[in-house]
C-alpha cells in the first residue's frame, strides 16, 4: 500500500455492543444489499454483464438493445380512462411533462443501466395525479406497436388522504423501456396493478421507483403473463412512520420466456410494514423465472415488520426458477423480518387424491394451480382483474397440457 492510499483511509468509530442489550447499537457495517448506484447518468453504470450480481440471472444478450441510449419510436399507444371506459373522473388529472420536470424524476433515481437509458432516451412523462376518493380504478392501456425501440415514462402521484386504484395494462408486441414513479401522500390508500400480457416476441425492461407516504398504504401488484423477456425492477422506500406496503406478484412463464422480477424494499422509517408475495408457474422447456427479493431494514427503522415470500410451481419438466431472497437487518428492535422461498412441482399425492374422487387429471391440475394462485388473485382486490386473471391462467393450463403432450410425443 502506498503512503498516498494510507492517507485516504478514514477512521471509523465502531460502536461497541452493550452485552446486556446487544441490539441497542446498530450494526456498524455498510449496507451490502443496497450498494447499487443511483444516478440519472447512463455512464455511472457499467454495461450489464452476467458477472455483475444484479444481472447474473438475466439473458443479457437478448435485451442488449436497451443498454445504450436510443431514439424512441413513439409508436407505443397510451390510452387513459376509467376502467369501465368512461372519461377520467374528478380527482384524476392527466398531463404530460418534459422528462426531468417535476413530478418526473422526483422519486429516487435510476438504479441500473437500463433505467438510466430509459430516462435519457425518453422525452416526456405521462403524469397521473390523484386526489380525493376515486370510486373506480383508473386504467392506463399501454399497447406496444411492434419491434421499434420505445420508451415510456409514467408518474403516479397521489395526494394526502387519497383513495384510488390504478391499473396499467401492457399488451401487443414491443421493445419497451419503461420507467414508473409512484409517490403516495400522507394517509393515502392506493393500489397500483401492472399487467404484462405481451405477445410472445415482446421485450420489456421496467423500473418502478416507489415512495410510500407517512401512514399511507400501497398495494403494488405485478402480473406478468407473457413476453419473450420481461425484467422489472422495483425500488421502494417510505416517507414517514407507519407506512404499509403490500407487493404482490403473479407470473406465468411459457417455454423459452424469461420473466424476472426484482423487488427492493427499504425500511427507512419506524413502525412500517411490508409484505412481498410473489408466486409463479412455469411451463415447459426453457421457461425461466427469476425473483430476487431484497429487503433492507435501516438503523432508522425500529418497529419494522417485514416479510417476503416467493413460490414457484413447475408444471412440466425443463423449466428453471431462480428464487433469491436477501435480507439485511441493521436494527435489532423490530417486529419481524421473515422470508420464504420455494420451487416445487405438482404434488402427485394431491393429484391422486383429487382423481380418486372422480376429478380427471386435467381438471385436478387446474384446481391445484387455481388454488396456488387463488388467494393472491383475490388479494389484488379488483374483481374485473381477478376474473380475467383466473381465465387467463385456465387458458394457459389448457394449452400447457397439449404442449406437454406434444413434447412427450416428440421425445418418443
Amino acid at each position: 500500500m502506498t503512503n498516498e492510499a494510507t492517507k485516504n483511509v478514514k477512521e471509523i468509530a465502531i460502536p461497541v455492543a452493550d452485552p446486556n442489550d446487544p441490539y441497542a447499537v446498530p450494526a456498524a457495517m455498510p449496507s451490502s444489499v443496497d450498494h447499487a448506484a443511483r444516478s440519472f447518468d447512463v455512464n455511472d453504470f457499467p454495461a450489464p454483464d452476467r458477472k455483475q450480481d444484479e444481472w447474473r440471472y438475466t439473458p443479457i444478450e437478448r435485451i442488449s438493445e436497451f443498454f445504450d441510449t436510443f431514439k424512441p419510436s413513439g409508436e407505443t399507444q397510451i390510452e387513459v380512462s376509467m376502467i369501465d371506459g368512461t372519461p377520467l373522473a374528478e380527482g384524476v388529472q392527466l398531463s404530460q411533462v418534459k422528462l426531468g420536470e417535476a413530478p418526473s424524476g422526483t422519486v429516487s433515481k435510476p438504479n441500473d443501466r437500463v433505467s438510466a437509458v430509459e430516462w435519457n432516451s425518453g422525452a416526456t412523462a405521462t403524469v397521473i395525479e390523484l386526489s380525493g376518493e376515486i370510486n373506480q380504478p383508473v386504467l392506463i392501456k399501454v399497447h406496444g406497436a411492434g419491434e421499434d425501440l420505445d420508451a415510456f415514462h409514467l408518474v403516479i402521484s397521489a395526494a394526502d388522504k387519497c383513495h384510488a386504484d390504478v391499473v396499467v395494462e401492457h399488451d401487443g408486441d414491443a421493445r419497451l423501456a419503461e420507467g414508473v414513479e409512484i409517490t403516495t401522500g400522507k394517509d393515502s390508500h392506493i393500489s397500483a396493478t401492472f399487467i404484462q400480457e405481451w405477445d410472445k416476441t415482446a421485450k420489456h425492461v421496467g423500473n418502478h421507483r416507489i415512495h410510500v407516504g407517512e401512514g399511507a398504504s400501497l398495494r403494488h401488484s405485478v402480473v406478468t403473463l407473457g413476453g419473450d423477456v420481461v425484467r422489472i425492477r422495483m425500488d421502494q422506500d417510505f416517507g414517514g412512520p407507519e407506512g404499509d406496503l403490500n407487493m404482490l406478484g403473479i407470473y406465468f412463464v411459457d417455454p423459452g420466456e424469461h420473466i424476472e422480477h426484482r423487488t427492493m424494499v427499504v425500511h427507512n422509517h419506524p413502525e412500517c410494514k411490508s409484505r412481498v408475495v410473489y408466486k409463479g408457474a412455469l411451463d415447459g422447456k426453457g421457461a425461466h423465472s427469476t425473483w430476487v427479493g431484497n429487503a433492507l431494514i435501516q438503523p432508522t427503522a425500529p418497529g419494522t415488520d417485514s416479510y417476503e415470500l416467493n413460490r414457484n410451481l413447475v408444471l412440466t419438466p425443463g423449466a428453471i426458477a431462480d428464487s433469491e431472497p436477501n435480507l439485511e437487518i441493521e436494527n435489532g428492535n423490530i417486529v419481524g423480518a421473515g422470508h420464504a422461498s420455494s420451487v416445487g412441482r405438482f404434488d402427485d399425492e394431491e393429484l391422486f387424491y383429487l382423481q380418486s374422487r372422480g376429478i380427471p387429471e386435467t381438471e385436478a391440475r387446474k384446481l391445484v394451480v387455481r388454488g396456488f394462485f387463488g388467494e393472491l388473485v383475490e388479494e389484488i382486490g379488483i374483481p374485473a382483474i381477478s376474473e380475467h386473471l383466473m381465465d387467463v391462467i385456465d387458458r394457459r393450463l389448457a394449452r400447457g397440457e397439449s404442449d406437454a403432450m406434444a413434447q412427450v410425443l416428440e421425445d418418443k
Partner: protein
C-alpha cells in the same frame, strides 16, 4: 346389485433397493351390501391392495384383474374408477392448499354424477351431512384437509363417502388415530351411508375395535400379499385372542399389535 371381483392380483413397487413384490395372488369377491373386514399384520400388503384398486401410480400391476360388474377397473385411470363406483377412504387424506372443501366436493359430485347437482339441494345435503358428522360448518370454506386434525380428516372422508354414493367403499385404516368418540361418529357415518346406498365395504384394518361399530359379514386374514383365511365375524375374535403370529411367514418378527 354390483359385484367386485379381484382375481389373482400381483403387484410390485419400485424402491431404491429394486423391485419389491407386495401382492402375490390376491383374490376376493365382494357383493353390494356386504361388509368385508380385511385384517392382517403390518406390512402384509393390505393398504397396497386398497391403493392398487384406487389406481395409485406407485403400485404396478403385474397380473390379475379387478372386475367391477365385469369391467376391469385396473385398466382405468383413478378418476374413471371413481366414476365406475369405487371409493377409497384414505388412511392419510391429502391436503390440497387453496382448493376449498366446497369447491372440491361440488366438482367431485359433478364429475361422479355427470351433471352438476342442483345448488339448493346440494347445499342442503352438504350441510345436513356435515351436521350428522358433527363437523363445524366452517370446514366447508377451508382448503381440502388443510389444518384438519386426524379425526377431522377421517370425518371429511366419510362425508365424501356419504355424498358421492359409490358402489364399493374401501376403508383404509379408517379407525387409526381416532379417539372413542370420533370412532363412533365416523362408524355411524359409514353405517348410515351403507344403509342409504347398500354399497359393499372392504374395511382394511389392523385392529378389531372398529368391528364393534361396523359389523363385518365376512372376515379375511391377509398375510404376505394374499388372503390366507376367510371366516365369519368369529374369526375376528380369534385374531383378538391369538394375534397374527400363526399367519406370519417363517422367521418373521412378531410385531403384531392387536388392540
Amino acid at each position: 346389485m354390483s359385484t367386485l371381483e379381484i382375481k389373482d392380483l400381483h403387484v410390485h413397487v419400485e424402491t431404491k433397493d429394486g423391485i419389491k413384490q407386495i401382492l402375490k395372488g390376491a383374490s376376493l369377491t365382494v357383493h353390494s351390501g356386504e361388509t368385508h373386514a380385511i385384517m392382517g399384520p403390518n406390512g402384509s400388503g393390505k393398504s397396497t391392495l386398497a391403493y392398487t384398486l384406487a389406481g395409485h401410480p406407485k403400485y404396478v400391476v403385474d397380473s390379475g384383474e379387478a372386475l367391477l360388474d365385469g369391467q376391469d377397473i385396473l385398466k382405468m385411470t383413478p378418476d374413471e374408477r371413481a366414476k365406475a363406483g369405487l371409493f377409497l377412504a384414505m388412511q392419510y387424506p391429502v391436503e390440497v392448499p387453496g382448493v376449498s372443501m366446497t369447491n372440491f366436493l361440488r366438482t367431485a359430485k359433478t364429475e361422479i354424477d355427470g351433471e352438476a347437482p342442483g345448488i339448493r339441494q346440494w347445499t342442503k345435503d352438504l350441510s345436513a351431512a356435515m351436521k350428522r358428522l358433527k363437523m363445524d360448518p366452517k370446514f366447508a370454506t377451508r382448503s381440502v384437509n388443510e389444518g384438519f386434525s386426524g379425526g377431522e380428516k377421517k370425518r371429511a372422508e366419510v362425508l365424501q363417502l356419504e355424498l358421492l354414493k359409490p358402489k364399493f367403499a374401501i376403508l383404509d385404516e379408517t379407525d387409526s388415530g381416532l379417539d372413542v368418540d370420533a370412532l363412533r361418529i365416523v362408524s355411524e357415518g359409514v353405517n348410515r351411508a351403507k344403509e342409504a346406498n347398500q354399497f359393499g365395504i372392504l374395511m382394511v384394518t389392523h385392529y378389531t375395535r372398529i368391528l364393534k361399530y361396523i359389523k363385518p359379514d365376512i372376515v379375511h386374514v391377509f398375510a404376505d400379499g394374499h388372503f390366507v383365511k376367510t371366516g365369519g365375524p368369529e374369526l375376528a375374535d380369534e385374531l383378538e385372542e391369538n394375534g397374527y403370529d400363526a399367519y406370519l411367514p417363517e422367521g418373521a418378527d412378531s410385531e403384531s399389535a392387536l388392540a
